[in-house]
């Protein structure tokens, strides 16, 4: 170690000078970039006239963060990283094995345990009513996105088909539940599989014309499909209620034994003599979506090691080679679309049961983009990576809502959740810079002869269509 220290000390002055220079440069750049966006604000005064005022303080914060951040990165973080890399290279540890220790086997078990215990812990900490926010906003919200992203992962991550309209299947699931439970009074537990099947059916319908296309064309057509579904939902008012949507959707029950309807005789809280609260329903829903997520993960993992899953991955790697091996690529793509859509449908019907209200507004293109971003950030094909990405992205945006203290910094008009997209953008840029293949870029082989070695992301392809 002594020699690395001395070499670091030798280069330190040069590094510091460079850090100061780059810090200043970043500050100037930030000033130029944010001068108009942040430094000047327009607002309407009492006469409804648009006037502007300056926000020098806020601008100064932006510039300082950029300058100091750059200074710290160049001056301290980078040399340290380089040194660590160097010593590792000297010790002969290959870099690929880097993240293997972290995503250790126990990681999965521990996180499972944490998830199962999450509601009781939160209830014991904050009380029944106080747990609502944590179970609903953080727990359920994140798990819905985990499930959606895992579903999309089958299409994008495994089969390599870029689908920008995934939210359409989510919508099909949600409206299937809303309409069928409204019209026929069928129960959640019957409609959940049905919604999945209907979504899968739509997946196949979309698949047939689209799967001849590749790459960009496929992406554009799936995007259009997502918009078509949304526009139909918006304009077919007789059935879907148009932009107003459908409200008063029946709640799910605990397998018909206990209900969560306030008026019902077998109301859960009444039966057990508990005080009335909507928190019980949310806690129940938390376990439902957790179970749905686990089913999704189980099925995905199982399918990956079956011929169909291997064919999906082979398709992502090289479609022509697949055909030369006698694989019907059209059927293979259709199954990927159908299975991905089915998971979207499950999530959709769950969403409807949770909200009690659906409208086309919940199924805009941005949702597809967010789900896709989670898949890409997590690492295409990796369930663990995607789950982490969902926690970070969705949890992060929910956290923003909580950051009331920011109002003291940026003024009372500051609404932190509006900066959601900024967070997404920053996370995207950061991950793509440091981990271009996502949080978990390597892939686990589905079969092995002697030992299971993770395949580095540099060999896998993203697919082309």
């Amino acid at each position: 170690m002594p020699n690395t220290n001395s070499s670091a000390n030798e280069t330190a002055p040069g590094v510091m000078a460079q850090a100061v220079r780059e810090g200043l440069f970043a500050g100037v750049l930030a000033f130029g970039m944010f001068l108009l966006y942040v430094g000047i604000e327009t607002y309407q005064n009492i006469d409804n006239a648009l006037v502007w005022r300056t926000r020098w303080g806020l601008l100064a914060i932006f510039v300082l963060v950029a300058a100091v951040g750059r200074f710290l990165i160049v001056g301290f973080v980078k040399p340290r990283l380089d040194r660590r890399k160097l010593s590792k290279a000297k010790a002969g540890i290959p870099e690929v094995s880097d993240d293997k220790g972290f995503f250790h086997k126990n990681f999965l078990k521990l996180s499972m345990l944490a998830l199962v215990l999450y509601p009781p812990i939160v209830v014991s900490l904050y009380g029944v009513q106080g747990s609502l926010k944590f179970v609903d906003n953080f727990g359920i919200q994140i798990l819905i996105y985990v499930m959606l992203a895992w579903g999309l992962n089958v299409v994008v991550g495994l089969a390599g088909l870029l689908d920008l309209g995934y939210v359409a299947f989510y919508a099909v699931g949600a409206y299937s539940y809303a309409l069928l439970s409204d019209t026929f009074g069928l129960s959640f537990w019957l409609l959940l599989p049905l919604a999945g099947i209907l979504a899968a059916f739509w997946g196949i319908i979309l698949g047939f014309p689209v799967l001849r296309l590749r790459g960009d064309y496929l992406a554009i057509v799936t995007l259009a499909f997502g918009e078509i579904i949304r526009l139909v939902l918006m304009n077919w008012s007789d059935v879907t209620g148009g932009t107003a949507g459908i409200s008063g959707i029946a709640k799910a029950s605990i397998f018909g034994i206990w209900s969560f309807d306030v008026g019902a005789d077998n109301n859960f809280a009444k039966v057990f003599g508990l005080p009335m609260s909507s928190a019980y329903y949310k806690i129940f829903l938390f376990y439902v979506i957790l179970a749905l997520c686990l089913i999704t993960a189980y099925v995905t993992i199982k399918l990956r090691s079956m011929p169909i899953g291997r064919a999906w991955e082979a398709l992502r790697e090289d479609e022509i080679a697949c055909r030369s091996l006698g694989i019907d690529t059209v059927k293979t793509k259709l199954t990927a679309f159908a299975i991905g859509a089915m998971f979207g449908g499950f999530a959709g019907s769950f969403f409807a049961a949770r909200q009690g209200f659906v409208s086309p507004e919940s199924f805009v293109f941005l949702e597809s983009a967010v789900i896709l971003a989670i898949v890409v950030l997590g690492g295409m094909g990796s369930l663990t990576g995607i789950a982490i990405a969902a926690v970070v992205m969705i949890g992060g945006t929910e956290l923003l809502r909580e950051m009331e203290f920011l109002k003291h910094v940026f003024g009372p008009d500051f609404t932190p959740e509006l900066y959601r997209m900024l967070l997404f953008g920053l996370a995207m840029v950061a991950v793509m810079l440091f981990k271009p293949r996502g949080f978990v870029g390597s892939r686990e082989p589905t079969a092995f002869l002697k030992e299971r070695k993770a395949v580095s992301g540099s060999f896998t392809k993203e697919g082309h269509g």
């Binding site: 169909i308 064919a311 697949c322 030369s324 006698g326 694989i327 589905t446 002697k450 395949v455």
Partner: protein, 289 residues
């Protein structure tokens, strides 16, 4: 050439008749007829751009020929008109497998997984089209083990067993070529079409390839159709040679016959026959050493 050949049935496995392929104004193949005998290695040679790969693409369904008929006769007598089948059906039903001139492996899958993907149709059936397999019913487990066993056998034959769990993209070039052949063999073909398997190999790897191809022919009885530029490979292992130039057949016969055909020599060297016949001989001799 090999002693086993005389006892082997020598009927025709592949019959190409009056095959033509036109790309816009270019006749890439012009009225080509050829035959490949069962259990033999048939080589297809010719200068660059002669249309060899195009013939392969027509046989394996990647191109639809403009004209002509391609008949494949299986061991049990079943016949298939290949120009009527689509590419994946040709492998699945007619049992024709191929490799590509520019290697096409699943580089992000491991070597073993590459060989398992090749057994897709068999495994699909065994897994009850996934449903039975998901439920853990039926013979899937046994078939899956069998598939790994078959893969292991081919890995040993192709001398890749030590790299079985590495990504295919990580293999050196020669090993990738052998893997592509092993993968094609895992589909259980009756006819194996190899597009320049020796391209880019060093002499040692080229020799190993000869051994692999000979063992495929002699041990599995698979017929091989081979495109090759490397004359040492062609003359060494093929039973029958067809020479193409500008999409037309200019010679057809045993390696010795073709080697001495003045038309072939002219096509390859582009100059007067008599003058360069000796040069050709020299080159061929030099190549096989």
């Amino acid at each position: 050439m090999t002693p086993g050949n005389t006892t082997m049935t020598r009927d025709t496995i592949l019959k190409v008749e009056h095959l033509s392929m036109r790309f816009g104004g270019l006749m890439a193949i012009n009225d080509l007829s050829l035959e490949a005998k069962r259990g033999e290695i048939t080589a297809l040679i010719g200068p660059n751009g002669a249309g060899k790969t195009t013939v392969f693409n027509c046989i394996t369904g990647f191109y639809k020929p403009t004209m002509g008929m391609i008949t494949l006769t299986q061991k049990d007598g079943d016949q298939f008109l290949l120009e009527r089948l689509s590419d994946f059906e040709i492998t699945k039903k007619a049992k024709v497998a191929r490799t590509f001139q520019n290697i096409r492996l699943f580089s992000g899958l491991t070597v073993l997984e590459n060989l398992l993907v090749a057994q897709h149709n068999k495994l699909m059936k065994a897994s009850g089209y996934t449903i039975m397999g998901l439920l853990g019913l039926g013979s899937y487990k046994r078939e899956a083990d069998g598939a790994i066993e078959l893969a292991r056998q081919w890995l040993e034959k192709a001398d890749l067993i030590d790299r079985a769990d590495d990504p295919a993209g990580d293999l050196p070039y020669g090993a990738q070529r052998r893997l592509e052949i092993a993968r094609a063999m895992c589909t259980g073909p009756e006819l194996l079409c190899l597009d320049e398997p020796a391209a880019g190999l060093n002499p040692k790897e080229s020799l190993a390839l000869n051994t692999l191809l000979n063992s495929i022919r002699d041990e599995t009885g698979t017929s091989i159709l081979l495109i090759e530029h490397d004359m040492s490979v062609v003359m060494e292992i093929s039973d029958h040679v067809v020479v193409l130039e500008y999409g037309q057949k200019i010679s057809d016969g045993t390696p010795d016959h073709v080697k001495n055909d003045p038309k072939v020599i002219a096509a390859y060297l582009g100059v007067d026959d008599d003058e360069l016949e000796e040069v050709m001989h020299e080159e061929l001799d030099g190549g096989s050493h």
